[in-house]
Symmetry: C2
């Protein structure tokens, strides 16, 4: 038997939709009886559909299934990759739920990265107009960002995450041991979102990341837990303040308007989401500097940290201004046709801007 | 200029999601300036997508479009019929929204019957994770039932309304003049839901319906307004008490577990929803009588009123017990595998039962 492991808990405070995020090493090992019961504890019904993908299935499906006691467990294995996050593949989840005869009291359990979490979550939001949902994120990006906060959905050929729902999970289980199987480029993609939290909300965390980026890339467990916990804390605070993104929550989109345009224009799956966000953050830094809101030194600090995290710091060379503007105009933050961007006053202080200078935006789009 | 028409208003009390149902004759005629402004009043943004079908478009699209002032109006025309209420056709609505470049501040306006309302509503619930929604129901069934209460969704080959969301409209506009173009069988189908309200909640209304069924079938305007208003009042009361159907709202499903099985088994669109509900109510009456909860006289009163409304009082002859049970088991009211049915203690008094006698259910399924 393994000894009792330390588990951190971050709570998302949303009234009756509040839920815990459990973070730790060995959290989902079957020898840990406490963790097994913790998973069961968040399963109100008897029927569980595990939604996973072909990469994660051979690594973790058996481990998770074995902890579900006498529950009726079905599994659906989806293809891996952002290019499969669409309505057609989503249908497979509904087919599985109905084929199994699952009722409104079933639970959908997402076992995978952001794509799996988003699709399983939207299926849970929509099946019989809403069933229970649990998140077991297996990538760093999903652990620090997409599994927390209730945003679910699929892509449309004309825009990323255009069809979806806000549907909060009943709990999130983050086992950092699962990161041992993550490819290096996916670890880096997750670090883009971790670094984002420093940029928008916490200069001290940004400094800590500058000091610990190598430890994170070498998957030091203590460094990972610290980075994941702080990321979840910041996200929890912003989601609790603004569940459906009417205001402050939009700050979490730093780099995302540029990044979504890159992902959509390049074809889903060709750039990892975190890679596109990293390039997008560098563009937001550039535009903030052109407005004299940010100085050269901070821009360089930002660019350097992203680079040290193994991330791209510029968009693909073949994307011109017109292409960017076409895709950016479909951003969900557009209001009355007016583009809104997340920009920086300084590291740790982001804001939503709808009165940026369009000439300076043009300069940024042409500068890379 | 037309003189000022009398407009009834029924309010759905759901806190910050409360909304009005406007009921009247001439409500949406373009000569009535007050009504035009009432429609505009519920359009917060500049962008409006009208979702309608190929039957309704030539009748009412121009009339409605002309009342939207200087709004940016796009239209998507879907095929008509329950067999088209599915994910594939729903995609056309998302394609239209994205093709028009509409943002999160747009409004989706449903102009049609229950199928259009359910699909437009689910599109509004899901587009960019939720946009504004208005209902302009053009059939009696949509006016008294499906346009009120926020249930939206599409069918799956394995079950009706299996994929959807609760998404309340910002307002419902019921113009009884639109019923003049409704085929007789569709009028009767709407009367099935009207009669349902009498059965579950209001014996006096049931008696009034017995006295006025011919007036309703001949489309007497005063009788229609009375029947629609009372139906909306009863629905409003039950939705306000239980928005997401955890309890009392389930009573609105009288006859629907049997009826959905008929619709699914016969192929969507071959039986009108209201026709299937009418046969389903007769089966619920039969099962209630077999439990000695209802006497023969009340069963006969119920059957006779549905018959006088021009509705079927028995399921299709080719549906056997096994077929019924297969489809009924997929009902959304099933909990832990246990079927739950809406049954009657007397006319005006329905209840949810999960301890009915399965032998008696078998007898009912074989009796028709």
């Amino acid at each position: 038997m393994s000894e009792e492991k330390h588990i951190d808990t971050v709570n998302i405070d949303l009234g009756e939709r509040s839920y815990p995020i459990y973070i730790g090493s060995g959290l989902l090992q079957s020898t840990d009886q406490n963790s097994a019961s913790r998973l069961i504890e968040h399963l109100p019904g008897q029927q569980v559909l595990i939604v996973t993908n072909e990469t994660v299935e051979p690594l973790y499906l058996q481990q998770i299934s074995s902890q579900l006691g006498n529950r009726i467990v079905e599994t659906v294995v989806l293809p891996d990759g952002e290019q499969h996050k669409n309505m057609e593949v989503l249908q497979q989840v509904f087919d599985s739920l109905l084929g199994a005869g699952f009722g409104r009291d079933c639970t959908v359990l997402a076992l995978g990265g952001g794509v799996i979490g988003d699709m399983a979550g939207f299926a849970a939001a929509s099946y019989q107009r809403g069933v229970e949902f649990l998140q077991l994120p297996t990538t760093l990006l999903a652990q620090v960002d997409s599994s927390v906060g209730g945003k679910t959905g699929v892509n449309h050929p004309m825009g990323k995450n255009m069809i979806g729902a806000f549907h909060q999970p009943a709990a999130v289980f983050i086992d950092i041991d699962m990161l041992s199987s993550l490819p290096d480029n996916e670890l880096s993609a997750g670090l883009a979102e971790v670094i984002k939290y420093g940029f928008i909300r916490d200069a001290d965390f940004f400094t800590w990341l500058e000091q610990n980026i190598e430890a994170l890339r070498s998957r030091d467990p203590d460094a990972l837990v610290t980075a994941i916990r702080r990321s979840c804390e910041i996200k929890a605070e912003m989601v609790a303040a603004d569940e459906t993104e009417q205001g402050v929550r939009a700050l979490l989109n730093l780099g995302h308007t540029f990044g979504h345009a890159i992902e959509s224009a390049q074809g889903y799956g060709n750039w990892l989401h975190g890679e596109a966000v990293s390039a997008g953050i560098c563009m937001a830094l550039d535009l903030s500097r052109r407005h004299d809101w940010l100085d050269d030194a901070d821009v360089e600090r930002g660019r350097l940290l992203l680079q040290r995290a193994g991330l791209p710091t510029a968009p693909p060379a073949d994307m011109d201004e017109a292409t960017f503007l076409k895709f950016m105009q479909r951003d969900k933050k557009v209001k009355q046709g007016q583009l809104r961007l997340i920009l920086l006053k300084q590291i740790g202080n982001a804001f939503v801007s709808d009165d940026f200078d369009h000439g300076l935006l043009s300069a940024t789009l042409n500068a890379f």
